[in-house]
């Protein structure tokens, strides 16, 4: 039996559907069934019947749980369902809960899986995306967290049973006091399209065109480390080895030379476009499409072209 943990607050996220799909495919591979455990009061859980989930355990009594409570919830569900493998998304919550569950169950954890198990090993990215590793779990019980935007969402029609499931999980010790929204921005870690700027843009006052291009494309904005360090852009936009690692479908790098540390954060992008004045910039070696030119000439032209394209598409 495969157990998937997913958060289902508000609109069910892509990461949740990816984890569910991974679990369902793994269940199919092993001729077994797949149960999903979640918390809260979402009424749209039937959606998972399109993604191969046979049963849902819903802890409706649990509101704003911390990682210790979620660990207890998942461990209780794993015992109830006699789960051999437990699947998480390798997102903020998964990073906190999956290792807790693994430690509680003495189960080996593979974090950041990018493919289904093959010949008893699971593929993950290592060295910040500069290499891949095949990991074997040596324990009977296994925990796997799935790298967002890596395994896809599959459609498998099932009928689904939703059961209320409220085991004892204690009280929350970690309390969320306040949530601040970044108004109008697209969240960078989950963005499918990203427009990123570097020192080649010469100053924070020149980010208007980056933001305009991003808005037109429906993309998130990002930046290189020097730009975040000198305060031109906020830290949460820094992508790279010591910032955040992203895997969008399209990454447009403008005025970024492409140091190895920056590439480590973006090399899982499906398509990379590089715009740089320096034809020798190392980023061109990692790019799919390149333009050697001045950002202040190329980006306004690009904005016009995208406008035309969008107008034609509508």
């Amino acid at each position: 039996m495969i157990l998937v943990f997913a958060e289902t607050n508000g609109k069910i996220s892509k990461a949740a559907l990816e984890a569910a799909s991974y679990g369902a495919n793994l269940a199919k591979q092993n001729n077994t069934s797949c149960t999903l455990v979640t918390y809260g009061n979402n009424n749209d859980l039937n959606l998972f019947a399109k993604h191969g989930i046979n049963k849902i355990l819903q802890a409706s009594a649990l509101q704003n749980p911390d990682s210790a409570q979620l660990s207890k919830l998942v461990v209780a569900a794993a015992e109830k369902e006699n789960a051999s493998t437990i699947i998480f998304s390798h997102d903020l919550t998964g990073r906190a809960v999956a290792p807790r569950v693994a430690a509680r169950l003495n189960a080996g954890l593979v974090s950041g899986a990018v493919a289904l198990p093959e010949a008893n090993t699971i593929k993950v990215n290592v060295f910040s995306g500069k290499a891949a590793a095949y990991v074997e779990v040596l324990s009977d019980k296994k925990v796997i967290s799935v790298m967002p935007n890596s395994v896809g969402i599959t459609t498998i029609d099932t009928s689904i049973n939703i059961e209320s499931f409220n085991p004892e999980t204690g009280t929350a010790k970690v309390i969320v006091k306040e949530t601040k929204k970044n108004e109008g921005e697209i969240s960078l870690p989950e963005a499918e399209l990203v427009v990123s700027g570097g020192r080649g843009l010469k100053g924070p006052e020149n980010w208007g065109m980056i933001e305009e291009l991003a808005k037109l494309l429906g993309a998130a904005t990002a930046c290189s480390r020097p730009v975040a360090d000198i305060g031109w852009r906020p830290h949460h936009e820094h992508v790279g080895q010591t910032g955040i690692a992203i895997a969008p479908n399209l990454y447009i790098a403008i005025g970024i030379s492409g140091a190895i540390q920056h590439l480590a954060g973006v090399n899982r992008s499906k398509v990379i476009v590089v715009i740089n004045t320096d034809a020798e910039a190392p980023f061109f070696k990692a790019a799919d499409y390149g333009i050697v030119g001045d950002a202040f000439e190329v980006v306004p032209k690009l904005i016009e072209s995208v406008k035309k394209f969008k107008a034609a598409a509508n």
């Binding site: 290792p99 974090s111 060295f127 290499a131 697209i186 830290h235 540390q261 480590a264």
Partner: protein
């Protein structure tokens, strides 16, 4: 305040990654090791700032061989008060977490801090495992940390915003970018580090639950298609018809 900072070694960020023994082992020849940046720049430096403001002690802990003492001395040079090395090879996250939890369990640390992940195996596992083994609360990827009396206030980036979190000490957390700024050790720190206590202890019995069987390098990228700056429309066209990403 007593703080334990988990420090791990990692290959320097400019290392060219290669493998040996039929692609089953990381090729260490010529590799310069550093303190894992997340452990050093964010966790360790913030721990030092907190104790500098309100008193206390920062201990670093590393599971590793004698060769790791160079990076441990670096952490001491930056300002940690003392260090512990558990003499074992850190091959599996559970094994490492078990070692650190077993050391920390009767030491009454107020905070146990880790970096977000190491830049080599990128597991992001050890901190939360320590929390579970010690029955302590855990916050992943904190970007800010303040402590007032017995309460920690943290921030972290969530989808589309940030959240402010409170938790009574003791607490285990992982530190991400934003928590502190990198510190370069000065000569006085480097001299002082030589005589700061570095205790070596033997590992406890613990199983290894995972094994890295094989490594591969990503396939070489096909050549970049160059587009003239006078023909930007062609780029939009290719992104739509060829790459199919817009």
């Amino acid at each position: 305040m007593k703080i334990l900072v988990c420090i791990s070694k990692a290959p320097d960020t400019t290392t060219k990654i290669a493998f040996t023994d039929n692609d089953t082992k990381f090729n260490e020849s010529g590799v310069q090791y550093i303190v894992n940046p997340y452990d050093e720049w964010y966790a360790l430096v913030r721990a030092l700032e907190l104790t500098e403001n309100s008193g206390g002690n920062v201990t670093t802990i590393t599971v590793g061989s004698a060769a790791d003492e160079a990076i441990i001395r670096k952490a001491l040079a930056i300002g940690a008060n003392d260090a512990v090395r558990i003499d074992a090879v850190p091959e599996d996250a559970y094994y490492v977490a078990k070692q650190i939890a077993s050391y920390a369990k009767d030491k009454n640390f107020d905070l146990i801090m880790c970096g977000k992940e190491t830049i080599d195996y990128n597991g992001s596992q050890v901190g939360a495992m320590i929390a579970e083994l010690l029955d302590m609360p855990y916050v992943s990827l904190a970007t800010k940390l303040d402590v007032n009396n017995d309460t920690a206030t943290l921030e972290r980036d969530i989808q589309g915003g940030t959240e402010v979190i409170e938790c009574k000490l003791p607490l285990v957390l992982s530190a991400a970018k934003g928590m502190a700024e990198q510190r370069i050790p000065n000569m006085r720190g480097i001299m002082a580090a030589r005589t700061k206590p570095l205790t070596v202890i033997q590992p406890v019995e613990a199983p290894k639950l995972t094994a890295y069987k094989k490594f591969t390098l990503p396939p070489a990228k096909s050549a970049c298609k160059m587009i003239s700056p006078d023909n930007v429309e062609e780029l939009v066209n290719l992104l739509h018809t060829e790459a199919k990403v817009i």
